[in-house]
Amino acid sequence: MAALAHSDDTPGVLDVHSLLRTIRNGLIVVVALSLIVVILTAFLRPLIASVKVDESVTTTLAQLVILVLPYIAYIAAGSAVRDQLSDHPLRAVLTALLATLVLFVVISIGHFVFHLGPFVPTSSLEMTFTEAEGGALVESLVPGGVAEEAGVQVGDLITAVRRDPVTSGTLSALIARSAEDSPFRLRIVRGGEETQLTVRTVLAGNDDLGKLLPGLVVALIVTAVAIFWPGQWTPYVILLAILLPLLIGYFWLIIATFSYRTEGLIPLDGQGNVGGWTLNNWNFLFGADISGLNVSIWQITLNSLIIAVAMMVIVLLVSSMAGYALSRMNFAGRRAFLSFTLVLHGFPAVTLLIPIFFVMSYLGKVPLVGEFIGFNKPVGISLVMVAFELPLGVWLMKGFFDNIPWDIERSALIDGASRWRTYWEILLPQIRPGILALGIFAFIGGWNAFLIPQTYSTGAGTINLPVFLRQLINETAPVNWNQVAAVGMFQLIPVFIIFIFAQEYLLNIYAGGTKGSS
């Protein structure tokens, strides 16, 4: 019965109601986004400019909205018919495409009126030219235009702009890219003689309707995609778009380490041809002295490792015990200690570099231990970094202990355990994920440490990998960036491995405590 009524309802291929509704949806989008543009340009921009702040953000935003506005409207039109797709596919598609056509006309009128989109004024020399042997051949001139004023004639062959040879294609691109009123010093061959003329660009309105056609095709395609788009893909596409710059970065890193040089993402050899794959960037692993410091990469790696491991061990030991005490015991100054720790956590390390230097050089004079913990010693350096890492560690650990119910600890005490044993056998295992996460954080922090090692290690024998990397970036000699990339990659490898195996625990540091226990 219901199905019957439904088909009675829809005699033809087109349903005017649904068409109008679809157009309305699109128009709402157009109006809403236009309003945003108006607010951005007519209201926010002057407001921001009035306080003498660079207002390029609002301009950029407005341009972005103008750019995406038509497509969002078409997508709205396409989405509006999706619910009819299964019952009347043909009608749905036709409705959407027709609506898109209407929207396209409306939007194009808007573009025309406000000189936007395809009608945006572009830089022009007010002449046309075609491709010819040795340059661009002037075809026609706008009467009274800048080119004519400057003395360009039909039939001139433009061979170069300043000293750079041009073709008609490169010349168009140059003009399009230039700002208003930029001078073009044209080298012109006229009747076998060479002259030079300077023409200044003007902003010329655009009223070429032929430019609309590609736009219409794109509009219809966008609508069609919107009709048939699998909805569950949307989040992934958005995420991928956000992720893309990062992925490209890593992609470049990998390509760069294995090539002679790169331009963008394309590996090149010495002559500028695509290719140029090489393992030379990695020869620092086999004794090549790329920094001129005359120190083995393995010594440097060992230094990095010492700092990382010392960081991890000491931070874990101290913060887990301090966290326990702060979470479970009541002692004088507990609250003050807690707030002080929090302040220290936010304290910028740079401001303490000089005082710490004095402390370290005194420590170096202490008999026996001074040999290890003083200035210019990996362990001493890691001690400084431990001090900076501890506030965070202590807070995190306190949080983890706070999450363990008191009753479990009481139960252990009643069962006959000492306080120490309760800590070790009952409490620590429950915050194992937290311990692992903090340990990894400390390790990576130590492994990647730069500021403090850079400050407190002088001799080549005590530097770590990040400092070594910095040494490669020489101010006076040309830098081999592909080699830098390779060393960076080498430093990244352990971090990658750790993240692959431990990301589950690292996520835990934000959640706190053992999941699914009790």
Binding site: D407, R410, L413, I414, D415, G416, I426, T514
Partner: protein, 359 residues
């Protein structure tokens, strides 16, 4: 093991957790600590366990003063409301933990854990982790862990309140039977009076850190010594009305502006001298009748309880709860005649709030 608590006091900064508590628990006795939430029951229990140090007073296990004794040297077993199982250990690990700490040989550990687990009906779960068990099973593991070291005293802190109603019933009788069979002195904290009434040999009623009464369940119910106990014990709670008890025509009557009731001589005598007193009578001692020497009241609310219907009735300025036969189909707004069964009526002094009958 006998437990003697004298003058026990615990203060947290300004907050008083427990005040001047005196309690003697006999060997093998099952004592319930009953009271509303926040009245100091857990605090008392934790002082017995040695987790909290008393601010004042003494605790004796037998003749030994244990105030300064560490929890591990008190030989107690404790079961918590949250079960407090060790999540990273198996059931076997949990139950054997006290034995491991006592350095009991491995072989004996296995035997004892197995025995306890079988008693508790969790013999098949020994290699599971607490997270894989239901609430009832976790509770049995916690109980097993408390029992395995053969403690002198068992402490329970609301062990059943996280279980569903049906499981609570079975666990209640299991715990009671187990304690009876093993003869271990047990102190059982609960805010559920039915639990206390059905399980305990004696009940200590606490309120705001102060011991209100310490009696057998029957005495608490039939012979409440204070107004608080009378109002707290029993569900639905006792009804109260302020009356004057007078000697008239060779008998006694309790009367105010809306009621006039004949009081048995033995009770009336004790209340008559006091002037205005608070009369208490339980809902089940008031009956809806068709005829006779009765009080007429208006029904405000009717709550069907299944076996009974609970009526909220009003007469004069007093509002009472009454249990009636649901077959009578009484509705809100009806007028009913009430007969008061005065043989179990209670009287309390308005100032001291103490019973005029049982002190």
């Amino acid at each position: 093991m006998e437990v003697k608590i004298e003058n026990l006091k615990k203060q947290f900064g300004q907050v008083i957790g427990v005040k001047d508590l005196d309690l003697n628990v006999r060997d093998g006795e099952f004592v319930a600590l009953l009271g509303p939430s926040g009245c100091g029951k857990t605090t008392t229990l934790l002082m017995l366990a040695g987790i909290y140090k008393p601010t004042d007073g003494t605790i004796r296990f037998g003749d030994r003063v244990v105030n300064q004794v560490q929890p591990r040297d008190r030989n107690i077993g404790m079961v918590f409301q949250s079960y407090a199982l060790y999540p990273h250990m198996t059931v076997f690990g949990n139950i054997s933990y006290p034995l491991k700490l006592k350095k009991v040989p491995k072989q004996e550990q296995m035997e004892r854990v197995e025995r306890v687990a079988n008693t508790m009906g969790i013999g098949g779960l020994l290699d599971r982790r607490p997270g894989q068990l239901s609430g009832g099973q976790q509770q049995r593991v916690a109980l097993g862990r408390a029992l395995v070291k053969e403690p002198d005293i068992l402490l329970f802190d609301e062990p059943l309140s996280n279980l569903d109603a049906r499981l609570r019933l079975t666990m209640r009788s299991e715990i009671k039977q187990l304690q009876n069979r093993l003869g271990i002195t047990a102190i059982y904290v609960t805010h559920d009076q039915v639990e206390a009434m059905t399980m305990a040999d004696r009940i200590a009623v606490m309120n705001q850190g102060v011991l209100q009464a310490f009696d057998t369940p029957e005495d608490l119910y039939d012979r409440p010594k204070t107004l608080f106990v009378a109002g707290f014990v029993g569900n639905p709670p006792m009804n109260f009305a302020d009356v004057s008890v007078m000697a008239e025509h060779g008998g006694f009557t309790a009367r105010n502006e809306s009621i006039r009731l004949q009081v048995p001589a033995e009770r009336g005598q004790k209340a008559a001298a006091a002037g205005k007193v608070r009369m208490g009578i339980r809902p089940e001692d008031i009956h809806v009748v068709d005829e006779g020497d009765a009080v007429t009241a208006e029904v405000v609310i009717v709550e069907p309880l299944g076996r009974d219907a609970m009526l909220d009735v009003r007469f004069g300025s007093d509002q009472f709860l009454v249990l009636a036969d649901p077959q009578k189909h009484i509705r809100a707004g009806d007028q009913v005649k009430l007969h008061f069964d005065m043989d179990s009526v209670q009287f309390f002094d308005l100032q001291s709030e103490r019973s005029l009958l049982w002190n």
